[in-house]
Amino acid sequence: MKKILFFFAFIIPVGLFAQSGNMAGNERGGLSERITQLNDYLQFISDPQKDVNTRLFYVNQIKELFIANGNVYEEFITDSVGQTQIIQREGVTIEVSSLRRPHPTRKLLKNYLSGLVNLKYPKIEIQGIEVAKVDVSSLRKIGNNQYECICYFDRKYCGSRDGMPLYQDITRRKVRTIIELPETENSLSTLYLFGDIRAISKQQ
């Protein structure tokens, strides 16, 4: 019998934000694009039916959305006596809580992404992925022209085998987002970078 595969195109509604705190319109639009990109890439990377080299390509693409491409990085700071010091910062991490595990697991972003590509899935067809409207906390100033907020959204993932539903998972994600506004009209446009992610997975 012919296998029937349903695949729902990944669509983020045009009115993306359910709530967006005190964010201005163009910032909201820019953030909306970034979230769409993040989810598009994650979807592709975690799809076992896609070509592995293409998935690896998107692993590199997704890293560019994150602070320091998700890597360990050095930050230059001026201390209280005016001297410049270099401090090492840990790379972006993902903490995942699951009902199936007694405590959350933490991974560096790059390790998490490698894990997604290398995961041995049972042979399943993705039935649907849906992302609810994104909620955004208030923007909080963290530096000159730099702001931080948290983007929250649910993502439901359904898998099946031979047309029978096999697997459903809702993951609630909170993504730390840094927004750097242009200093002058002639500066580069607003910069959006993602930081740590906290995810709560509820497999059904």
């Binding site: 933490r106 039935q127 409207k133 208030s138 929250y152 439901k156 029978m164 809702i170």
Partner: protein
Amino acid sequence: MRKYIFFTILFCSVCSVKAQVTINMLNQELYRTRVKLVDEFISRFNGEEMRPDLKGNVERLNKTNLLLLFNSKQFKSKNDPVFAEAQEMVDTILANSTKIQYADTAWVAKAQCHGRFKGKDVTFTMYLTVEQKGEGMYKWVIAKVEGAIFKLTPSVKSSKIMLSPDAHETNFMSLRRVTTEKDDYITNYGLKNLTIDQTSVFYSYVYNGWLEIEYVEDLEFIFFQVPFYQFSIKHFDREELNAGWLISSFKKISEQEKNNFLNYIYK
């Protein structure tokens, strides 16, 4: 012929059932009503945002909106005395037009932390508060830490473990012994009324690389803005209309008790 048609229809129905897969997609109503962020809790508490499914006159709406911020599982029914107390607290909030601001000093985060201390699993409590760091900028700071590992409880507490009364005549040479015999006896050599500042002990452990925090096991926020009340919120993750950050407990307290707690945190 009829038998043939019947079996054809039956066969098609079976194929159709197998081809159809029921997918329960995200429940948008549950998503919208859930209090997903602490910011969202604050907005709804302040009346800046209503739960999306509420309809009715404004005064009733405000009260209902606040009541829906409680974890409904703590009430057995609408006749439950605890529910009546919740309504009293809501009346107090409305009568005093109480608002919560992010920058307030009257709210505290209480994080139950899980860590590793010299290779062993430990848990301890950390209180964090919001502090201003510049013009319009804020940060969370560690205010207080409590835990058994910070109490420096000696393995043996005895009046025989002491610096002798003539120690001064030998240039206090026995001080060396204090640090080379059993380390954890050290507080036996302190003042009778010695109080250990557990927060400083925490800083010292981390500074020396002995303690790592692995994750936060449990998190709640405690609020003192409502006159004569203290309430806490926790996150309830469930597929129900009443879910997300909700008031998990509340109680009446005196202003003195409130001040005592806040002084303890900020001291």
